[in-house]
Amino acid sequence: MSESTGTATPDRPADLPAQSPPVDPAVTASLKEKPRAGGLSFWQGDGGEGAKRNLGLIGVLVVLVVIGAATRWDLYSNPDWVWGNTLTILKLASVVGVVTVGMTFVIIGGGIDLSVGAIVALAGVWATTLATQSYGAGGMIFTAIVVGTAVGVVNGVLISYGRLVAFIATLAMMVAARGLAAQISGKQTQVSNNSFINGIASTDVLGIPLLVYILAAVVAAGWVLLNRTTFGRRTVAVGGNPEAARLAGINVRRHTLLLYALSGLCCGIAAIMLTAQANSAQAAMANLYELDAIAAAIIGGTLLSGGRGTIVGSLLGVLIFSTITNLFAINGLSTEAQNMVKGGIIVGAVLIQQVQFRSVTQFFGRQKATTSG
């Protein structure tokens, strides 16, 4: 190629290693400016950049809490109330949080799942039919999880082997699964008579609701799966560059299918949690959860085009949303205003990531570097 003419010398010694190729100045510059922490910390598990982004999200959470304290100091001055309110926020976040973990995998893997809300509804309804309830709590949990996973598998087959665009396939599933849920329930609210299931939402362990433990378990499992397993590595590869993954010998189609199955599984778990909270299930439950989950993942730094994202970030996204909801509730403001603010937050978060991402993270990165020594 002609690029060589300028730099080449005709009689080059046969052994070249001493000759170093021209180094991009930008590369050297960024080499200098990036301080690097020592070993593998918890935060670094998600990747260095993700960790910094998550620090930013924690900052947002702190700001929201400060606003809450400033507007309702009468409540916040009572530590017992603060603890109780924190648990309320976590409980509020638990169901959507579980769904968001599955959604995060799907989006990192380069897809999207619009059917999660509908899958939750279908799994919840199927688990609370009189026939299923006759098998007891075990039968109900089993049914919800199997139904959720099965619907996810159908999504996955349509997308990876039927080559449907994920948006279309899961949009169709969103409509169809709600239809099936309405069909099964006869458009009625199905009351759960199972005290074990109902107790899931009302039980506290060591003063913390069981639902919060379930969320924590799912998040922890998701984190390990994404950061410590071959499944997680494949997810990032498939979403980051499907062709490169394929040519490296990864079975992209099978993995894509598994991602949607995983999302369905999370929906099945969420269905039980939501049924327990309401002591009932109906076809209209978990309405618009897909949007909450996608928004939380995006706020959490998951790239909508795939290949990048963190479980911790998504969790923080969910927490930010439920904290906002809580903030409006304690101030007695309308849900309409709340939705408008949420919309603004989504846009703001993405804008910050795009435009100011560098400077924001550098700020936090530097803070972190100086504090850690």
Binding site: M1, S2, S20, D24, L31, E243, N251
Partner: protein, 527 residues
């Protein structure tokens, strides 16, 4: 020299000497230089194009033809040198400026909007308008005029471009050029997408255009086309004009090829082992075919042998490599590794059998650009280090660091994102991926594209070193010297078929280039 402004109507064409064309000079480039970071793409180009002529541009891949076209089309601005357009110094700030001046470019990948109509494509961006409304009737009428001027009045202006065959789309591209009142049309390998009879039609159109005084710059690798349609030829090599205004019909192919070859820089190729160990075939491909890509290809690679495939872009070489690798499914034929047939269309099976591939498009086909180096290096092998599905980050990192040292990756920190590496170092990451695990056969598609000289030599050393360890290498490159310098045995591919196989020592650059371009030096090559 310069402007004999005889109106082209009554110019004594018959009397003109064979190597000149009567039209006035419309375009003259003097000492045009264009550098990119680390690359001197154009290094003193001279070009003279006259009205009504077909001026052919010849040169190997990387000779600077594409850059030259982009300078003329207003995509790039030259660093120095003069561009004279119709007697005036010209500076095209952007493609629109070049268009307005009357230079139209038809790129290899036609830039048409498939879901718009023929007329809408022809007038895209400069639709005739009244008060913001497109004058559809007027546009259709003018499109019909232009199409009949091109001899294709039968194409309905309202037809969707998607519904047209490749040749029809090309006509629409030319209609777009004419809708701009183009006086110079640049065609970049226009015949590459056309069937044989469609090429005749293309030539008829070109003749009609030149008869109207329009100049054409025609780029092609096919000698017979240059002979048939061309008036004069300018040859580029390494960004320089090595011969200008040669008569297209009379200049012997041997002379043209000689002007294109012989590099200024001698690449340093590692020594070949004196006698490659005779062993059983590692890879054996028999009768492999895919319609429209390649037909009945048979080849073999022995352990420790480097086999090079020379061929132009579009000769089917990349498709062949991907099919051997299972990334495309063969329609017929077999691929055997170590005697055992591979499941067709399965990359997983090929990788398990010990194949690895460094694909042509590094960034889009091989790398996770945002991910760190070590994860890219272990992309094909991380499951080997994992236990019960849990990855072993420490082991992976250590293996990646070992590879980085072995390949002298710069920078050497494997935690850096691959995005920040230079092209050569990115390629090392891709090749390094297959040094882990038990790769027995490495498929390399254009391994040194976009790689600077120093890193090239290192890559050559790595490839030769792999062969010395018994790995078989199948290498595809459009750079003939690279194939000849690196490979033990060379296969020449043209239009989907193998046309020659010989030890590298028995071939020279001219012969291979001639074969690749379907020239006349080697008569009777099996087609």
């Amino acid at each position: 020299m310069s402007t004999e402004s005889t109106p082209s109507g009554d110019s004594p064409l018959v009397e003109a000497p064979a190597d000149t064309v009567a039209g006035e000079v419309v375009l003259r480039l003097t000492d045009v230089v264009k550098t990119f970071p680390g690359v001197r793409a154009l290094d003193g180009v001279q070009l003279e194009v006259r009205a009504g002529e077909v001026h052919c541009l010849l040169g190997q891949n990387g000779a600077g033809k594409s850059t030259l076209i982009k300078v003329l089309a207003g995509v790039h601005r030259p660093d120095s040198g003069q561009v004279q357009w119709r007697g005036e110094p010209a500076h095209f700030a952007n493609p629109q400026a070049a268009m307005r001046a009357g230079i139209a470019t038809i790129y290899q990948e036609l830039d048409l909007v498939e879901d718009l109509s023929v007329a809408e494509n022809a007038f895209l961006g400069h639709e005739p308008k009244v008060a913001g409304f497109v004058r559809r009737g007027h546009m259709a009428r003018r499109t019909r005029e232009i199409l009949s001027r091109l001899g294709h009045g039968e194409i309905p202006p309202g037809r969707m471009v998607r519904a047209l065959p490749a040749a029809g789309k090309q006509v629409v591209s030319m209609a777009r050029a004419l809708s701009h009142e183009a006086r110079l049309i640049i065609m970049d390998e226009p015949s590459a997408v056309l069937a044989h009879d469609e090429v005749d039609n293309l030539f008829r159109i070109i003749r009609e255009l030149t008869a109207q005084g329009i100049a054409v710059i025609y780029i092609s690798h096919r000698m017979e086309e240059i002979r048939e349609i061309g008036d004069r030829v300018t040859v580029l090599k390494d960004g320089r004009t090595t011969a200008a205004n040669l008569p297209a019909r009379e200049t012997p192919t041997r002379d043209l090829v000689a002007r294109m070859t012989g590099r200024n820089i001698e690449y340093v190729f590692p020594d070949r082992p004196t006698a490659p160990a005779a062993a059983a075939d590692l890879l054996r491909v028999e009768g492999l075919s895919r319609t429209g890509e390649f037909a009945d290809v048979s080849l073999s690679v022995r352990p420790g042998e480097i086999v090079g495939i020379a061929g132009l872009v579009g000769s089917g070489r990349s498709e062949l490599l991907e099919t051997i690798y299972g990334a495309r499914r063969a329609e017929s034929g077999t691929v055997r590794m170590g005697g055992r047939p591979l499941r067709p269309g399965s990359v997983g099976a090929a990788v398990r059998a010990g194949m690895g591939m460094a694909p042509e498009e590094r960034k889009s086909q091989a790398l996770l650009l945002g991910e760190p180096i070590h994860r890219n290096v272990t992309l094909a092998t991380f499951t080997r280090y994992a236990r019960l599905g849990f990855t072993n980050a420490g082991r992976e990192r250590a293996e990646a660091e070992r590879i980085a040292d072995e390949l002298q990756l710069r920078p050497n920190d494997v935690r850096r994102a691959v995005r920040t590496l230079s092209g050569g170092n990115q390629q090392k990451v891709v090749v390094g991926r297959w040094l882990l695990g038990d790769t027995r056969l490495l498929l390399l598609d254009e391994p040194t594209r976009g790689v600077d000289v120093g890193a090239r030599a290192e890559l050559y050393r790595v490839i030769r070193g792999l062969a010395a360890q018994g790995v078989g290498v199948l290498l595809v490159s459009s750079e003939v010297p690279e194939v000849l310098g690196l490979a033990d045995r060379v296969l020449v591919m043209r239009e989907g078929r193998m046309v020659r196989e010989a030890p590298a020592g028995e071939l020279d650059e001219n012969t291979v280039l001639d074969l690749v371009m379907a020239g006349s030096l080697m008569e009777g090559a099996p087609a």
